[in-house]
Symmetry: C2
Subunit: 430 residues, 2 copies
Amino acid sequence: MNIPKVNNLKRIVIIGAGFAGLQVAKKLRRDKFQVILIDKNNYHTFQPLLYQVATAGLEPDSIAHSIRNIIRKTKNFFFRLAIVHYINTKKQTIHTNVGSLSYDYLIIATGSVTNYFGNKNIESFALPMKSIPEALNLRSLILQDFESALLTTDEKKKIKLMTFVIVGGGPTGVELAGALAEMKKYVLPHDYPDLDIRYMNIHLLQATSRLLDGMSEQSAKQAYKNLKELGVIIWLNSLVKDYNGEIVFMEKNQKIESFNVIWAAGVKGAIIKGFLKEDMEGNRILVNNYLKAIKYKNIFSIGDVAYVNDSKNYPNGYPMTAQPAIQQGNHLARNLNCFIDNIEMMKPFIYKNIGSMATIGRNKAVCDFPYLKLKGFLAWITWMFVHLVNLIGFRNRVIALTNWIIQYFHYNKSVRLIIRPFHRRKKRIT
Amino acid sequence: MNIPKVNNLKRIVIIGAGFAGLQVAKKLRRDKFQVILIDKNNYHTFQPLLYQVATAGLEPDSIAHSIRNIIRKTKNFFFRLAIVHYINTKKQTIHTNVGSLSYDYLIIATGSVTNYFGNKNIESFALPMKSIPEALNLRSLILQDFESALLTTDEKKKIKLMTFVIVGGGPTGVELAGALAEMKKYVLPHDYPDLDIRYMNIHLLQATSRLLDGMSEQSAKQAYKNLKELGVIIWLNSLVKDYNGEIVFMEKNQKIESFNVIWAAGVKGAIIKGFLKEDMEGNRILVNNYLKAIKYKNIFSIGDVAYVNDSKNYPNGYPMTAQPAIQQGNHLARNLNCFIDNIEMMKPFIYKNIGSMATIGRNKAVCDFPYLKLKGFLAWITWMFVHLVNLIGFRNRVIALTNWIIQYFHYNKSVRLIIRPFHRRKKRIT
């Protein structure tokens, strides 16, 4: 990869520039290490706001930030745009689409990918929303569907085009359902006056008995109430079994006809080839409390892809969200900076849950903090504030805030652009 | 297309939602006409700022505006997203990819497309910049080339990756060359500290003896001087003969090796099938002073695609820019609104040239007004002001202005995102 080694400096290679990888890359001392960050994109994605890209609220530039712009002008730092194919843990090399590279220490922060739980039909026909291109595809598709619905006189087809099924009642599903419901309420009737908006239905399907499993019962109920008020049709205890591109099949033989199924039902660790089964816990890399992969002396893993054994408090591992990732990135950088030559002095990682939140719509959100629960307008303002300060870069914050203010007063979502039309897979598996 | 005809109302179909089509659509009286606007995109593109999308200065949402958002809540107005295949002028029908439609009056405002002057090699390998997806491709490609240049140890390949050849010294070519030169000066050295920026060269090739043919000699000289200062290599009297994907061949046997040739050398009318040779003047539809196609009683044409015979002042037709398009749209709407039943009362169109301008970079622009010529900072401020007020929509203006202010103080171009990688055509025609 055309990066010369420097004497006296240990080389740390970080794979993935999500919340975890970026954090550790920013914090590692450049006088001790040569730091190489690798990602398949040249930008960091602020995933919590992807749903706003999908629903025409924000352009990608508000939630994506060029990695080279985040880490600039620092010595001994290199970024490479590359897709990692596999790791050779014996030779200590990584192999990518643009060449290979040796490492002294390796940090795996590859994050997570959409989990279809092995269902190939769903993987083929449902729409994921884990990346910016996927969110843009969804934006195009929603708008294309309305254009198509205008043209058809076939009532059944019109209904399928205008029915949106969101699978997964976590924060992503709840926020997306809320945003779509607001489009139905405020935006689409003006855009399509010659289309009967009553044909549009938004279904939210959740496998368990409540929404927002990771949040308090109180917040879950509030979200349920708010979504109901916005007209979202909520299905609890409704596990999705299959989807053939036209019909969603649920466990209890219920069906919904729709061309648009958005899959927000789960994620799994994004594993790279080169690890053994015993290095893993499910789809995640098993690490000890020092975030070191159990069987290796120089491989660490942080963020969604890492499974830290904290069975007392988190039997399923830490939540696959931004917070543990950022905390782990910080922690690992501190440990490596201070104790790299004195590994037994390293401090164990302890996760501090500082709260969680979800927004439903205008003036509607829920926040769970350790000693405080918020709902309604106050929660909504808090949600906005927290997301704004966590966006990377002054410009992204200004642009996102400007968009939000204008949308708030205009009751509008402005980015209703089909820049690249998205075409559904045509061949249906039956 | 599922649009019912209304008694008493004449149906006017407008093809194309560029400056001309949008203007006439906005101004036509809905109590007299049923107005149907057709475009292949669901947005209007503000083409004068495409080069800023290509050079990572603005996201598409600043220069694109949803057509349904521009014309909202008006009676007797319909927008359809469709690609027109052909027109049957005898039956008075248009035929599209989503069905056909009859018209009483037809307004053709299809604009222009890139003109490669019949050279298939250039069409295959050079990059156009006439649409938002094309500008985004260019943005991706510039950034991908720098990532690739980092990886290669082959000096010749590195030079080809980092050499940019812009063909055409009109406003588009000049503005693009200036923006690229500023990226070289302010942005790329910080992004790629491990790459020798001296390998990057920007060539601007012009077939005639001066830049900015449509502007004053004085402004052309100023633009030449400013571009030189920014390090752009300018080739006057240098007609491009061919390009094979790696080497640009000029008429006098000069060559430049580059993977990146941007074609801004010309446009031609975007003609729809269904017209006869005698209806045309070159690649444009021949219209009389009332903007009516010569041989037809109910077909009008405006904007880039229309050729108005004003041989005294404009022997080659009016310039294919926004101004004549907007003026013609306005004029035609007024004629149709007032004199549709009294066609001999219609007023002839007279083009008023209110000036032209081009920007080169920070604090550098040239403006030609009828009684005033500006350069430098004052011209640059004027250029910004004129472009801002002409952007459609309050939000687009605010977002573009915010971006410009931040870029001005940060010496930065923030949208350096490769959202959809662009892959060059690999097979070269030799």
